[in-house]
């Protein structure tokens, strides 16, 4: 979640920037962009440089390999809380100075936290890069926190929680599904944290977490834009290069893993404000990092086939052929250090029972698991996925996000660049096998969002609060 500004837009789907060649309608479109330059500083900081010389601007993103799944139980929300507090200044640059510098040159900045990583970025005119690196390197270890800053910021985070979760029945259902899906792994905890734990986070918690995880050897720096890798290297050495590593941070993150799933689960979230009921099915599936060769691209293709757009199997079956639902979609999030989710989401039409919807979902899954998909469907879906890799190149910040996210979840640059090739190589049999193996109900949680029709409790005291 972003700490700086209003929730703007979620990032779009991002894919690879690799060279494309053969196959289908995009046969002639070859991407000539060079691979990003990469090097590692003496203190272990990995640096990646993605050139884009169209406009004299640059994006700096620093990614720490720490997210909500690395929090100590009982301190949920700490990774995200610290992300907010990283804007509170250092001994060298008091609160506000970094942000003011960014704004004075017309730049923008923000930060984000996920289960596996925490990132900070600035987008500025290219000549400001050295200054941005100096600021970012400084706050890697120089953060100063005072209660006068920490406590109001905790209120800000609680309002963020209210906005994103408490006010939003859909988000509350997501929390319940994830908690039910992960029986043992910390992905079951919300990134923003459980409210009663956020309320108790304090300055000492934040500083301890900061000291434990923020170090050059636990970070990846991505610089994208109108820059030269050599210049970046010398600037990085002068700034980040001066920060001492923390050898105690383990290279590999070992978290409690999920047992073999044994029983399908269901959760039902009812809220008086639900005007459009929904049903969602999440399956526990391997991520790009944990999957066997070829499996993760097959799941990408499967998700697109089943629920990407108006010709997808679920949309056809539920929205077009038998109009039982107003929408139907599927998604797979491959970028994840540990086992991830394959998601199906359907909004039934008024009066349609969840059971009718689920029957169709199950029939579609069973069909995909038994019969090889049509060659033209497979081709169409692959083309769409691969094209996204080209569209992504239009946006340097998108590319920076995509590489940063992959590198902080255990993937390599080569994994990313070869992604289109691996999508192209997916066969109908692999898609069928993936459906059969992973879309097994035992691996799933089904979540229902329903209107709470119970008569509302009286609230006689409401008016008395008037001051």
């Amino acid at each position: 979640m972003s700490s700086r500004r209003f929730a703007a837009s979620l990032f779009a789907v991002l894919l690879s920037a690799s060279a494309l060649s053969a196959s289908g309608a995009i046969a002639q479109t070859t991407v000539t962009s060079a691979p990003p330059a990469t090097f590692t500083l003496g203190n272990g900081l990995q640096v990646l440089v993605i050139p884009d010389h169209r406009t004299p601007v640059v994006t700096q993103m620093i990614w720490y390999k720490v997210g909500s799944a690395d929090e100590t139980p009982g301190k949920s929300g700490l990774a995200h809380f610290l992300e907010h507090l990283m804007f509170k200044g250092t001994s060298k640059h008091p609160a506000g100075e970094f942000s003011e510098t960014v704004l004075r040159v017309g730049g923008n900045e923000n930060a984000f936290t996920s289960t596996d990583y925490t990132g900070y970025f600035q987008r500025v005119p290219r000549e400001q890069l050295a200054s941005m690196m100096e600021f970012e390197a400084d706050r890697m270890t120089g953060l100063i926190l005072k209660d006068e800053n920490v406590l109001p910021e905790r209120d800000v985070v609680l309002e963020e929680f209210n906005m994103r979760v408490a006010n939003n029945p859909d988000a509350r259902l997501t929390e319940q599904i994830m908690a039910a899906l992960y029986l043992n792994h910390p992905y079951g905890r919300p990134v923003i944290g459980w409210r009663q734990e956020i309320e108790k986070l304090d300055r000492e918690d934040a500083l301890a977490f900061y000291k434990r995880f923020y170090a050059p050897n636990n970070a990846t720096l991505v610089i994208a834009g109108d820059v030269d890798a050599k210049e970046v290297r010398s600037m990085a050495e002068r700034t980040f290069g001066e920060v001492a590593p923390q050898p105690a941070i383990p290279v590999k993150r070992i978290r409690p893993q999920e047992p073999t799933p044994a029983a399908p689960r269901t959760v039902t979230l009812s809220d008086p404000r639900v005007e459009q009921p929904g049903v969602r099915r999440y399956y526990l599936v391997p991520s790009a990092t944990t999957a066997a060769a070829g499996e993760s691209p097959a799941l990408d293709v499967l998700a697109q086939l089943m629920g990407g757009g108006s010709n997808s199997y679920l949309y056809r079956a539920l929205v077009v052929d038998r109009p039982l639902a107003v929408s139907a979609s599927a998604g797979y999030q491959g970028t994840s250090l540990d086992a991830t989710q394959f998601m199906i989401s359907v909004s039934p039409k008024p009066g349609v029972e969840f059971a009718q919807i689920e029957q169709v979902i199950d029939a579609v899954i069973s069909d995909v698991g038994k019969n090889a998909v049509r060659a033209e469907d497979l081709e169409r879906v692959k083309t769409q996925l691969i094209a996204e890799a080209i569209y992504a190149q239009d946006n340097q910040a998108t590319l920076a996000r995509w590489y940063g996210g992959a590198l902080t979840t255990g993937l390599s640059i080569e994994d990313i660049r070869s992604w289109p090739e691996r999508i192209r190589a997916v066969t109908a049999e692999q898609v069928r096998d993936a459906a059969q193996k992973w879309l097994d109900k035992k691996r799933s949680v089904t979540g229902y969002l329903i209107k709470d029709a119970a008569p509302k409790r009286e609230e006689p005291k409401r008016e008395e609060k008037r001051s």
Binding site: R5, L10, L14, V57, E100, R164, M178, Q333, I386, S467
Partner: protein, 457 residues
């Protein structure tokens, strides 16, 4: 791997800073420096930047009209047209039409905004002929088959039903009503639960016939195509449209005079507050002064006064901002925040106080200098992708700015004096606020006069 997950789902938390449009840089971006005014053989005009860095073409375009052309008793017609115009055209049914798009990963979309019916087309360069041909079909021979109409209608109705319990939707809907009353700007483009069921194919065909025409069309294209080829493509896509639109005239309107307050009770943990008032039209000579001073008050991310007072110092909200909105026939400023029910009064008071302070004293010279510096630097960042550049070039045309505006703009920003900024602040905020409060907050029901003293808590 797709990033659906990490970014869009698991963390509905990964969020980007958003850029404000329509501002330019000290050094224009390389691409923006080469804007051509292209006229096709058939007389279709476009602003065009040729750029072969990435093998794609991005086009943004707009027809005059938008939601203002919805029949007064049937708001939502334009929106329904926008949702259905790519659901089957010419000799292709919806399924085949989408297959043709998907097979080549062509991105085609439409929307009905307040004043414009807009479209967006993005393709890999090798697929340009197919892309422009599909666009031609959708614009000139949409089917509106009844099964598709009912499917899309059900989706729009589902969204409208959701809106009835969403505090932010309720607040913005009410704000527009408060500001614009019966004027078309008082309605939302997606219509209402009452109007959408009554929209029929004849309404949509009538809308298409009146609105989609060449004389109000504005086009911006950025990408890997040469001007001669683009000219032919534009003729292919738009040449078959009627020469003249027949639009219902829309009256100029001034937003309601503040202060006024409305309260909508809704049992939600976070109270949502939308506030605003009459703004400054884009063609007003004092527009830039207003733009700069609004940036200082509520538009500048972490540097704005509202951000500092409401979020940073008091921890009252996660998000608080205010922007200027300009339309063809009016203008408003509008802000938004969300806060704990028991501190909603305190939040509204803090906002009101800052707005009053700015109206009375204006900004400081230092604030003005820093805001100008930001505004001059930020445009370059707003123009760094083909899609963003195309959107900006369309907006300049909509705003009736000259094609060399990018070069002129810094001088316009620099010319804003402290006195101009103070005058603009007085004009914008001297009267107070139109405020809509949605939530549990009991104080919200109080009328503005009663809300003046600071809250006890």
């Amino acid at each position: 791997m797709t990033y659906h997950g990490t970014f869009a789902r698991r963390a509905a938390f990964v969020v980007a800073a958003c850029l404000t449009m329509a501002l330019l840089a000290p050094t224009p971006s390389h691409a923006a420096a080469k804007i051509q005014h292209l006229i096709s053989p058939g007389g279709i005009e476009a602003w065009f930047v040729q750029d072969a860095t990435v093998p794609l073409i991005a086009m943004e375009y707009a027809f005059g009209g938008g939601a203002t052309q919805d029949p007064a008793d049937k708001p939502g017609v334009g929106n329904m047209v926008a949702s259905l115009i790519d659901e089957g055209s010419g000799d292709l049914d919806s399924r085949t039409f989408h297959e043709r798009l998907e097979r080549r990963a062509i991105e085609l979309s439409f929307s009905s905004t307040r004043d414009y019916f807009r479209g967006s087309l993005r393709m890999l360069k090798d697929n340009r002929d197919e892309a422009f041909d599909l666009l031609r079909m959708s614009l000139t021979s949409p089917h509106f088959d009844s099964a598709d109409v009912e499917r899309i209608r059900a989706q729009i109705m589902s969204g409208l039903r959701r809106d009835t319990s969403s505090p932010t939707s309720l607040a913005s809907r009410k704000f527009l009503e408060l500001a614009f009353g019966d004027h078309p700007y008082g309605r939302l483009a997606n219509g209402t639960l009452e109007s959408v069921p009554r929209i029929d194919v004849a309404d949509m065909k009538d809308y298409v016939g009146r609105v989609l025409a060449r004389d109000t069309l504005r086009i911006a294209v950025v990408g890997d195509v040469d001007p001669a080829t683009l000219g032919k493509l534009l003729d292919q896509a738009f040449g078959g449209l009627p020469a003249k639109a027949s639009l219902t005239p829309v009256a100029d309107v001034e937003a309601a005079k503040p202060p006024q307050r409305a309260f909508i009770p809704l049992d939600v943990p976070q109270t949502v507050v939308t506030f605003g008032g009459p703004g400054i039209r884009r063609n007003d000579p004092n527009f830039m002064a207003g733009y700069v001073v609004n940036h200082i008050l509520g538009g500048g991310g972490s540097s704005s006064r509202l951000y500092r007072e409401v979020r940073e110092k008091r921890g009252l909200a996660y998000s608080v901002y205010q922007s200027l909105l300009w339309m063809d026939h009016s203008a408003v400023f509008v802000g938004n925040t969300g806060t704990r029910a028991d501190r909603a009064g305190e939040t509204v008071d803090a906002i009101t106080r800052e707005i009053r302070r700015m109206a009375v004293d204006g900004p400081t010279q230092q604030e003005l200098d820093e805001a100008k510096s930001y505004l001059k630097g930020s445009q370059m960042l707003a123009l760094d992708t083909s899609s963003k550049l195309a959107s900006a070039l369309l907006q300049y045309q909509i705003d009736k700015l000259p094609i060399d505006y990018i070069e002129k703009r810094n001088a316009i920003v620099d010319a804003v004096t402290l006195d101009d900024a103070k005058k603009a602040a007085r004009r914008l905020w001297g009267q107070g606020l139109l405020t809509v409060i949605v939530g549990r907050a009991p104080q919200a029901a109080a009328q503005p006069a009663a809300a003046a003293p600071p809250a006890a808590n």
